[in-house]
Amino acid sequence: MGELPDGLPEGAELASIGGFNLFVGPLYRLPDSHEGAVKRFAFVAAEKHMNAAGSVHGGMLMTFMDVAMSRTSRLISGAPACSTVSLTCDFVGPGRLGELIEARVRVTRQTRTMVFMSGELAAGQRTLMVGTGLWKIAEPA
């Protein structure tokens, strides 16, 4: 595994292993905050992530939110697999080339089979997206 790109905070580790995650990545996991209540992830916006208007493509931001919530649902349930049931995203502001974009996900409620989450994407102090997601624990641990 190569060096982490400049600008990634201390403790970042590669979260993309294979598949679409890696194809659109690399995506990283950052250390939790708020005593573990907030799961954090990051990627650096590259040329391939952009739209023609010079912003990070909405599809990439939603993909990143999906990955962040999927990983969070697995982390907190301990289940090997969880599936997105629904995800709603508000596009609050544009992401720019070269920015470190961070995802912060909180679990609202976990049941035996479901996980309710809310999350935001930010570049520095600017919020780019807020979202709420519902995940099904495919194989309860």
């Binding site: 679409f20 493509h57 990439m60 993909t63 997105t84």
Partner: protein
């Protein structure tokens, strides 16, 4: 790269991210175009299922194309997208959608789509678009 599905032509894309995850195909007249992509190994997760991110990207792209078609390519941005994942799609599946414009106001366009594989809905998306410069 991948073959063009029968009855479709390759959609001209300009966004680098769309070109990266594409190609995308369409058929029909402007204003009522049907869109499709052929899921391949790039689009799936470690379980072999088409990644939600790819479906949402395809939704943003195709609903956006429909918005473009009806506004003669007026500049617009996605404000919001709501999605539901009903079934898994797999590599080799042709994912299709006929976007619907539900309502247009001066400044907003409400769009939605049912995304199907072999005629079964796998995913639905609804999005709100803002026409830039319109109050």
């Amino acid at each position: 790269m991948s073959a063009v599905p029968a009855g479709f032509v390759e959609t001209k894309l300009v966004d680098p991210f769309e070109i990266y995850v594409g190609p995308i195909f369409d058929s029909g007249a402007l204003g009522s175009r049907r869109f499709a992509f052929l899921a391949d190994e790039r689009h799936v997760n470690m379980r072999g299922i088409v990644h939600g991110g790819m479906l949402m990207t395809f939704a943003d792209l195709t609903l956006g194309q429909a918005v473009w078609d009806m506004t003669n390519n007026a500049p617009s941005v996605t404000l919001n997208m709501q999605t539901q994942f009903l079934r898994a799609a797999k590599a080799g599946d042709l994912v299709e959608v006929l976007p619907q414009i539900v309502r247009r106001t001066r400044a907003l366009i409400f769009a939605r789509g049912d995304f199907t594989v072999r005629g079964e809905i796998v995913f639905t998306a609804a999005s709100v678009w803002k026409l830039l410069g319109q109050n």
